[in-house]
Subunit: 245 residues, 3 copies
């Protein structure tokens, strides 16, 4: 059983984040809130997202799995405006998921959770860590998109940098330690990542002013951020692209 009331901004960010990787997903409902785990079809990127009970305006749930079609939630979100509240209700089994906003109710067919991949999320602990402004990262990503389809992230004891390189052009975003909220790197570490995934991930973040990035040498990226005023958090993992020498 699941019954909740949530701000459109919170549900929209949740859905935007999830839809960078998948079109269908399982909501794992518990008494404490909801969790989503997802892996993209090519197994390059993963997501673990939690939204606590307190991130909702109202919340009642017990242990339930709901298979949802992300696009259908987006359909209803498009009917709402900033500040609106959406109601969600699910009785379990093959029942419909009920999503309402204002005087409108949509009853959605659910997806059989058995058909949705349940990723085992590995414990990834890259040695370098940086906390930086989402806007600066976003700007660097937009600049890289006209240069290449991958970017190299470097964490150095003195700076963070993102680098992309094309045939005749290159682009660098470089932020010295003094302008970063946090930088932990004992030595220089760097990895190259596919830009399409990295870009979608970062662009799906709407409320977090800062993100935390963990980088190692030719190692998966870990990208963490919070949402719903700190009552939700999400963690992306992204496989590195190994440079050919």
């Amino acid at each position: 059983m699941f019954k909740a009331r949530v701000k459109m901004e919170v549900l929209r960010e949740l859905v935007d984040v999830v839809s960078t990787l998948v079109t269908e997903t399982k909501l794992q409902v518990s008494v404490d809130g909801i969790e989503v785990k997802a892996v993209d079809p090519s197994h390059v990127a993963m997501l673990v997202l939690n939204l606590k009970k307190t991130g909702f305006e109202e919340f009642t749930g017990d242990s339930t799995e709901i298979g949802i079609d992300v696009e259908k939630i987006k359909d209803v979100l498009r009917l709402s405006k900033p500040g609106d509240l959406l109601n969600l209700a699910y009785d379990g089994g093959k029942g419909k998921l009920e999503v309402s906003v204002g005087k409108i109710v949509r009853h959605m067919g659910v997806v059989d959770p058995a058909g949705i991949t349940d990723p085992k999320v590995p414990n990834v602990n890259p040695p370098g860590k940086v906390v930086l402004k989402t806007d600066e990262l976003r700007q660097g990503i937009r600049g890289s998109e006209s240069i290449s389809d991958h970017v190299t992230l470097t964490l150095d004891p003195e700076f963070f940098s993102m680098h992309s390189e094309g045939e005749n052009d290159r682009l660098d975003l470089k932020i010295p330690k003094s302008e970063l909220t946090l930088l932990e790197a004992k030595e220089t570490v760097k990895s190259m990542y596919p830009l399409d995934f990295f870009s979608s991930m970062v662009k799906s973040i709407s409320s977090a002013e800062e993100v935390t990035i963990f980088v190692g040498n030719e190692y998966p990226l870990k990208l963490e951020f919070s949402f719903a005023g700190g009552r939700g958090d999400a963690r992306f993992l992204l496989a590195p692209r190994v440079e050919e020498d």
Copy 2:
């Protein structure tokens, strides 16, 4: 003869409403104002629209028919900005229709009115009547568009509802009598209508905060609204889609 001066917002709404059904139409000019009657090529929907002399800033007209290409009026409207006044002038016969805004004058070739269908608009009086907020109706329509290509309108003594149904999903907009400006239904009546027409009609309305809808059982819809600050009014008729059992 016809010579008039009109606010761009008034002419734009008139043209938006007319162009939901036709690309060419006849303006019936009289000493009292203008009238447009239109039927879409598939004869599913009809329109009767009147704009009184007082809905213009200036108006001089005698009995004249002007065949116009709606898209050309839109071209000139695109040159105007909110608050602008447009001037219209027509001397009759094969002369041009002159439409001007600011220092720009467009002379438009007119269409032979003989080639434009002149619909006989039937007298349709469905038994149920509801007055509701245009915004709420518009929101329900937008929600229905991802579900189905038709909607069912129901007028009950206690509520108004709009319902659409897809293979696995359904959407309902339901408004209780207490939240409607007016509801007159002695018994439950309902009909199904094609969503494309109904959606275009409602979306073409820009100034009316409320619309009046008349519904019967498997009966044509009548949709009425006013524009130009009450000095214009329009009435759409829309054939029902008969449910197959």
Copy 3:
């Protein structure tokens, strides 16, 4: 050598103006500022543009030619927001042109200037001259685009007019001498010009509230305007389209 700091609005207008004619161009750098000359591939239109040293926030340059890909500068401009400053630096030879905004640096491959046409700009002095509001001209151009692919400009001792004519429609923008900032025409002169070029030129102007147009009889058009608060100026020439009688 070239090193400069410039407001994004100034660089953006420069780039928009240049890209109406070419995708690659030579920046002629001198101690006094920069100059761009360009001719479109069909040799119908030409441009001479100057931006003085004082139009930059900082400027150091000696005589250098830099072959640039205009689209790449636009890429970097898209990373900036109004009020931002961009830095440009070039050391000469086959080195990269460095363009930076905020914490982002792009190193761009330059184009061999030897491969870029260096137009000889003729001395064109049409007898009629008019100074008019850019907005009014722009509105007339937008109106003409739905009528024809060319426009006729007329300078008369009493008025300026722009006229376009289609099969059944015509459009006129006519401004009497009293509403023009300046009108110098001893007799009526007029020429027809291709609308695509004329439209792109005028639409590329973003800061000048007025433009100066010189017209003769079946003679090239000269269109002058300033930018960068008067510290930059540009001159377009456009070949007439000769009317067939």
